[in-house]
């Protein structure tokens, strides 16, 4: 029955491509409605007519809208994203550079959130009604309401300005100095992980509580299995489906949240790039960044679907 599953995944991949194309269309059309000519804004009020004409031609902004769109899409398939007006570089180059920094914040955050979130959630579910459950639930609720930017500023204030143990902001590439790199990343990674950690804790707890009531848990007990065996092999595996769903969504959300984190801590990532591009009206950059972020989210969703199939055999066999 494996081939049915493979077919389903392929179908989802094709769907994702269609969705991303739709994203490009929507983003492109929306950007066309923005008033203001990126070339003029870039060159400033002192630009001459010739200069404006020259650059407009250079970047292809004189072509009809449909052609501009077509060139962009075709370029994408070749791996090219066009040129940035403000940065005077190939956009794909810029995005690739920035992607590294963003991933260095997002990925460790996610892993931390997964490990601690699931652990706390299981602990809360197993000790239902006791103190540890209430504490964990309270902390989880708090974590989900926490405004990221505020927490960032709070941490900067305490750890950097008052206690002087961590740097205020900035980013050091790991190739240059690993220890400094980590020092600069501790606060951003820690803060970014809190929201998802809270969410995973809540979801794990409720999924485990659901599972605990199931008949097959009693069957497992009647076999004489030890408590841990039952938790790991019977309960957790069945609770994973809703947990994995939430994780997929959280990763997408985290990718968006990096915008705020990068802004506060001055990390040269994709989010920062997008903000500067918006402020300087560099449309091509904005379009491509949004596309990349959407692609990342689609990739996460696909991975989640793949994981569903691995975790739950019933899904492998169904439509």
């Amino acid at each position: 029955m494996k081939s049915k599953f493979v077919k389903m995944i392929l179908k989802r991949v094709i769907q994702s491509v269609i969705i991303l194309l739709l994203v490009t269309l929507m983003v492109f059309l929306v950007m066309q409605t923005i008033p203001g000519d990126p070339i003029q804004i870039f060159l400033g009020p002192t630009a001459t007519k010739e200069q404006i004409e020259h650059y407009t031609k250079l970047f292809g902004y004189d072509q009809p809208v449909l052609v501009q769109y077509g060139r962009w899409i075709l370029g994408l398939f070749r791996g090219e994203m066009g040129r940035s007006v403000t940065l005077q570089k190939e956009i794909s180059e810029v995005i690739f550079q920035r992607l590294g920094a963003t991933l260095m914040v997002v990925l460790p955050s996610f892993i931390l959130a997964v490990i601690f979130g699931v652990t706390f959630g299981v602990a809360a579910a197993l000790n239902r009604g006791k103190l540890i459950d209430s504490v964990v639930s309270f902390v989880a609720n708090t974590g989900m309401a926490m405004p990221l930017f505020w927490l960032g500023i709070l941490c900067i204030y305490f750890f950097a300005l008052k206690l002087h143990i961590l740097p205020v902001q900035g980013f050091v590439p790991p190739t240059k100095d690993l220890a400094e790199c980590i020092r600069h990343l501790i606060i951003p990674v820690g803060i970014l992980s809190l929201g998802p950690l809270a969410s995973f804790t809540r979801q794990t707890r409720s999924a485990m509580l659901e599972v605990i009531r199931q008949d097959y848990v009693r069957t497992a007990q009647a076999k004489g299995l030890s408590r841990w065996d039952i938790i790991l092999k019977h309960q957790l595996r069945n609770a994973l489906i809703p947990i994995v769903t939430v994780m997929g969504g959280a990763l997408g959300h985290m990718i968006g949240s990096t915008v705020v984190i990068e802004s506060i801590f001055v990390i040269p990532g994709l989010g920062n790039l997008m903000i500067t591009a918006i402020k300087s009206k560099d449309f091509m950059v904005v379009q491509n960044v949004v596309l990349i972020l959407a692609a990342a989210v689609c990739f996460c969703n696909l991975t989640v679907d793949l994981l569903y199939g691995i975790i739950d055999p019933r899904i492998r066999d169904s439509k």
Binding site: T219, A222, L225, K233
Partner: protein, 328 residues
């Protein structure tokens, strides 16, 4: 006195719900010898499943409490023994076949693995190959081809799922099987098959069994002894022969048999028993059936005892109070 397989003495079990206490079992006495089959009959809510669960110490954590009494299983005090000991006994000395096969199996584990699991825990010395052989043999014994052992529960029909449950229960050759309404959730056509298979396996492995059911017909087919439960108590006990013969009956049992349609008699209506079971959140003294009993009398309000109306046949009803000369 030789050891009996199961000896339950004055067992009382309470469920502590959020706003009330449910007195599920009240002063229950029952015992079983090695190799015997006991049919435990009663309506829903009589306390049959609760009694069975308690003999494996499987009452819901924190909610179910044994408030009094002792349970001796194969000589071991189930309530007082260590966690390790009771786990050693579960699946191995005593096992359970639960009611609903659709939900009793772990949906994300192969059926082979689920049978293997219980075998492995209680047979640490066996090698992987030996374990697999045993699993295959067990599957064949319940009528499922061994090549299907890497499939998942959702790929089997209800009847086949129940066979897997039976395989899990029997693979370690336990001394006692608790079969909680094993055929209720299945089609009528499969029921007979399933019962026949359970009986045969029981004979082959020389296991004792407590068959919980509300269906007297099933009891007649498979059980040597019968116990009738009502509102948390055993109100009648005897061999299948004496109970089905019907010379003496507790009024409730009379009602149960009266409600069975008979093909060889003419009648207008089935006899039903008026009223409902008493509220389990109220503690009662005296006969719990009195409110619905047609033969209600003045002594019904006092605590009732068991009376031996004929050899091997006990009834808990003041109507049979020999001393008072009230025997029917």
């Amino acid at each position: 006195m030789s050891q009996r397989l199961l000896e339950i003495h004055n067992l009382s079990i309470e469920y502590h719900a959020e706003d009330a206490i449910v007195y599920a079992v009240n002063g229950l006495d029952v015992s079983l010898d090695y190799g015997e089959t006991l049919g435990l009959v009663g309506e829903t809510g009589a306390g049959k499943t609760t009694t069975a669960l308690s003999s494996m110490r499987l009452l819901p954590d924190g909610i179910g409490k044994v408030s009094s009494g002792t349970i001796l299983l194969d000589g071991v005090d189930v309530m007082k023994c260590s966690d390790a000991k009771i786990r050693e006994m579960r699946g191995n000395v005593v096992s359970m076949i639960s009611q609903d096969p659709m939900t009793s199996l772990n949906p994300v584990m192969t059926v082979g693995d689920q049978i293997l699991e219980v075998l492995r825990i209680h047979n640490k010395g066996l090698s992987k190959a030996e374990l697999n052989l045993a699993v295959d043999a067990m599957m064949e014994m319940v009528g499922i081809p061994a090549y299907r052992k890497n499939e998942y529960p959702h790929q089997f029909s209800g009847g086949m799922k129940q066979r897997i449950v039976i395989a899990i229960a029997l693979v370690c050759e336990p001394k006692l099987i608790l079969a909680d309404e094993p055929t209720t959730a299945l089609d009528v056509t499969i029921q007979a098959q399933m019962l026949a298979m359970i009986s045969e396996l029981k004979k082959r492995l020389n296991t004792a069994m407590i068959l919980i059911t509300h269906d007297l017909g099933v009891v007649a087919q498979t059980c040597e002894k019968v116990a009738v439960m009502y509102a948390g108590e055993i109100i009648e006990q005897g061999t299948a022969a004496t109970i089905f013969e019907g010379r003496y009956w507790h009024p409730y049992t009379r009602g149960l048999f009266g409600a069975i349609p008979k093909l060889d008699e003419e009648s207008d209506r089935l006899e039903a028993i008026d009223g409902l079971m008493p509220d389990p959140t109220e503690k009662m003294v005296g006969c719990r059936f009195a409110a619905r009993c047609k033969s209600r009398g003045s002594h019904c309000g006092q605590a009732q005892s068991m009376w031996e109306v004929e050899p091997g046949h006990l009834i808990r009803c003041c109507l049979f109070d020999v001393e008072r000369g009230n025997a029917q």
